[in-house]
Structures are given as C-alpha cells and as structure tokens.
Amino acid sequence: MSASAPSPARRWRLDDRTTAVVLMLPPALLLFTLFVILPLLDAGYYSLFKWNGYGAPSEFVGLDNYAQVLGHGIFWQSVRNSVIVLVVSIVVQMPLALLLALLVYRQTPTNAAFRLVFFLPYILAEIASGLIWSFVFDGNTGVAAGMFAALGMKPFFILADKDWAFFAITVVVVWKYFGFHMMIYIAALQGVPAEMIEAGKIEGAGRWQIVRHILIPQIKPALMVSGFFAVVGSLQLFDVVIPLTNGGPSNSTHTIVTYLYAFGLTRLKVGFGSAVGVILFLAAIVVAVAYQRTLNKEAAR
C-alpha cells in the first residue's frame, strides 16, 4: 500500500508506520510473553527440579519427575479417564449433536427455540453444572433418590461408586457440551447450497440418502473442527469434575488436569506438577499437528 503513496510525504509516513507498530504491538507481546510463554518455558525448566516453590530451584533431579509421573498408577487412571471422555465425545456426543443439528438447522421459530434450549447448558459455568448434577445424582435427597424410591429400590450413590462414578461424569460432559458441537454443525449446514439438496431430491434421493451423500460430505470441515475441540476439551476437563467427585472415590475419577491440580498444585510440588504440565502440552501439540496434517491432506485432495 505504501508503494502507491505520494513521494513528498513518504518519509514522514514511514515514521508514522513505525510509530504505529511500536505503539500498538508491544502491549499484546508483553502480556502474552509474560503470562503465557514464560510460564510455559518455566514449566519445562522446573520439571527438572525437585522444588516446593520457595527460594530458587536448586535440587536438580533430571528426568526423575517424569519417571515418577509415568510410574504413578493414578496418573494412568487419569489418562484413561480422559480417553474415555474423548471416546464418549466422539461416539455419543458428536452423533447426538449431528442428529439434533439436522433436525433443527432450518430457520423456523420453533427450531430457533430448540436451538436455544440445547445450547443453554454450554453457557452455564462448569462449576454450576457440576453442582446441579451432583444434586441430581445424590442418592439421599436428589433426583436419583426420588427415582430409586419410585422404583422401590435402595438408593444408589453413583458418584461414590468406583466403577460408575466416571460414567456419571461423562453424562454431565455430554449434557454440557453437545449443544456447542450442534451449533458448529448448524452453522455449516446453513451454508450448504439449497440447490444441491433440490438436485438430490429430483434424482429421487430419500431423506437418509440426502443426509448421507450430500449434507455430511458438505459439512466435513465442521465435523473436523468439532472433533478437534472434543480432543482438546477432553484433555483439559477440570471444572466439571471438581464439584461432582473431586477426583474420588479413591482417586478413580481424575482427569489429567484434576490430577495435576491434586498431586502437583495443592501439594506445591512444582517440579512434579510442571512435568505433568509438559506431558499435557506435548499431548496437545501432537493433537494439533495431527489435525493440521489431516487438514492439509483434505485440502490436497
């Protein structure tokens, strides 16, 4: 743009450009470096020390913290739980979201109302959602209690049951987030040209065939984005778990982040917690790279 500028003013204009860059960019760079990048680099550094956070880290232990994390049964339990969340997101939540998106994506007042309802849980704070459901699941006074009483059964405390507590958490996750995925699909479905669907109908395609051969291929990018969010979301699940089980009973319902919180942060084991953070970071990078690759492959086709 500056190339087309009238020449007399040019020198002054260049200075003006520099002023703008020097004035407008540093605040973002400073904040981002200080509170995002430096802590991230610190995590790598601290993870090599045994350190309780006071004084300077001095007890260098090499990769000991990593060995400790990877040798800890509860860590692997938390990884397993995060994988379960991911599987449920992909096998239950995304198909449910897609089904509902197909049912309500057309612009009518009733559809708009249903969209609003389905999206509502997403807007609530995770912590409030967790508390609401811990009441629902409560075997003493909650909704579960009422249901068991109505069926004439003894109350069952699902959140206190080692085998079922995490299943209960996945129900809450689906409840909380399917509306978000649905909205992504709806945005994409509304962008599918109406002529394509008309053409399909003229060729005698049924309802299901239109969905299968026209709509789903057309919204593939949206499906991939939502899959990416499902992975990232399952990696960082935290808030919902705290009010529901706080990682219990007997540490069976930790996710990676609640594990980091319980075993690194609350005990101020900075080195150990940082090692967990670094592992989480690496997992996120692997996901991002894999996602980018698939995107590139799709684009190359």
């Binding site: 500028a5 430096l38 956070g53 970071f281």
Partner: protein
C-alpha cells in the same frame, strides 16, 4: 409416502422432546429445589413445591458476601473485556494493515495460545504471579486470563479488519491521517459487531472461570462467584435446598445475559471455531 412423512415427523418430535427434557430437567429441579423444605426435597424432588419457601433466597440476597462475590466477578470480567479489546484489536490492526519485517513471525507467535490448554502452565504461572507480587489481587486473575484470550481475539479481529474496505484507508491516508489515528477514528467504530462478539466471549469465559481464581485468590473478599459457590456448598453440605437457591441465583444472570447476547455468543463461539 404420507405415512413415512408422518412417522418421520413423529420421530423428530419425540427426539426433540426427550433431549429437551434431558437438558432442562436438571435445571428445573434445581430452580424448584431452592423453594422446597428439606423434607419435601426428599419426597417430591420433581414436582412443584407444595408451599413455596423463599427464606433461602431472601437470606442469600440479603447477605453482603453474595453481592461481593458477584461484584468481584463483574469487576474482573469488565476489566478483562476492556483490556482484551484494546490490546488485541491494536495488535490485530497492525497485522492486518501494516507489512513489516517479522510480522508473520510475531503473528504466529501470538497465535501459539490457540494450541495448548490453559492448565499446562498453571503451576509456573502461579509462581510467576507470586513473584510479581500480584498474588491475591484482582490483577492476578485479569492479566493471565487476558493474556490467554489474546490468541483467539487477535485472530477474530484480524479476520474482520482485513474485510474492511481498503479504499477507506487509502482515502484517509491521502488526507494525512496516520495509522494510529485511523485505528481510533475509523477501524474501531466500524468494527462494533466483532467488538461485541469478542467482548461477549471474553466476558462469559471470565465470568465462568474457576481454575485461575482458585489458584491465585486466597482472601474471601476477593472471591469470584464460582469460588464463593464452592465454599457455600462446603458450608451447607447437608442443606441441598440452600445450595440450590444459591445456584439458581447465580445462573439466572447467566441465562438472562445469554438470552440478551445470544447472537454474539453463538457468533463468537462457532465463528471463531470454524475460522480457527
């Protein structure tokens, strides 16, 4: 054909009703539960209360700490919004408008935040905030959460700024209007839709944030409402109805805000997702 259309319509209605019940059920029992006595909560968890008890609501509403929690959350969220809008829009404007050496690198650097979860660096972040002397202050929440929101905000702003008509800048430039002045006088006023979207997005995530305040706030006077709610739950662990009243009072503002700003919320979340 008519038969099959009928059954398709029926199936559709049944699915929509079932999912609506699944979504709204827990919220309704929560709202109604706050009006029930402990005995009734046990015997009648689903239905309307026989006599509506309002004592929990009035005792919470007349409690100064409840308002304090909400006030803290509101203050932190508003400052975060203002700070994010200024800082992110300024940076995005530079990337959208000015070509200079290293611009691509700096932009890639600032977008790194899109990739990894906030929790990865939470422990070193705690140490950093402590060493800066910010621990247990509003800024301990505001600055890190603003920093973490920058990547997405910059991306959204930049995409929008690039779609603004180029001729406008060229005309202003010939008139002698500099880059910084153009930003204030033209770019920002023309960008209200995206400002609203990013602002709403930042506000909602700040309002609901739990992990960061949990880690960096100690004193009760500074608690945001999610922290206050968890503490309240701990205090009245046997009185579900009291807790349910508390939850109701805190989710109602969220729901009201959502209904008022849904356009921007949906645009921010899905638009950002699809473009990102």
């Amino acid at each position: 054909m008519n038969m099959s259309a009928f059954f398709a319509g029926l199936g559709r209605a049944v699915v929509l009703m079932l999912v609506s019940a699944f979504v709204l059920g827990p919220m309704l029992v929560t709202i109604l539960g706050g009006f029930k006595s402990a005995g009734e909560l046990r015997t009648n968890p689903f239905g309307f209360p026989q006599n509506w008890q309002t004592e929990f609501f009035s005792s919470i509403l007349s409690d100064a700490t409840f308002w304090r929690f909400l006030g803290n959350s509101l203050f932190i969220s508003l400052v975060s919004v203002v700070l994010t809008l200024i800082v992110a829009a300024a940076a995005a404007y530079v990337f959208a408008q000015i070509r200079f050496f290293g611009a691509r690198w700096l932009q890639a650097y600032l977008l790194l935040g899109l990739v990894f979860p906030f929790a990865t660096a939470i422990l070193p972040l705690f140490i950093k905030v402590r060493d800066l002397g910010l621990l247990d202050s509003y800024w301990a929440v505001i600055l890190p959460q603003t920093a973490f929101g920058l990547s997405l905000s910059i991306l959204l702003f930049k995409t929008f700024f690039e779609q603004l008509p180029k001729e406008l800048f060229e005309a202003a430039w010939v008139e002698g209007c500099g880059y910084v002045r153009f930003f204030w006088r033209f770019t920002l006023p023309l960008s209200t839709p995206i400002l609203a979207t990013v602002g709403t997005f930042v506000f909602v995530s700040s309002w609901n944030n739990f992990l960061l305040p949990l880690v960096v706030l100690n004193s009760r006077e500074l608690y945001t409402w999610p922290l206050g709610m968890m503490q309240f739950r701990g205090e009245y662990v046997v009185e579900w109805n009291r807790t349910l009243a508390f939850i109701t009072l805190t989710i109602l503002p969220s729901v009201a805000f959502f209904l008022a700003a849904q356009k921007y919320i949906v645009a921010g979340l899905t638009g950002g997702a699809v473009k990102g």
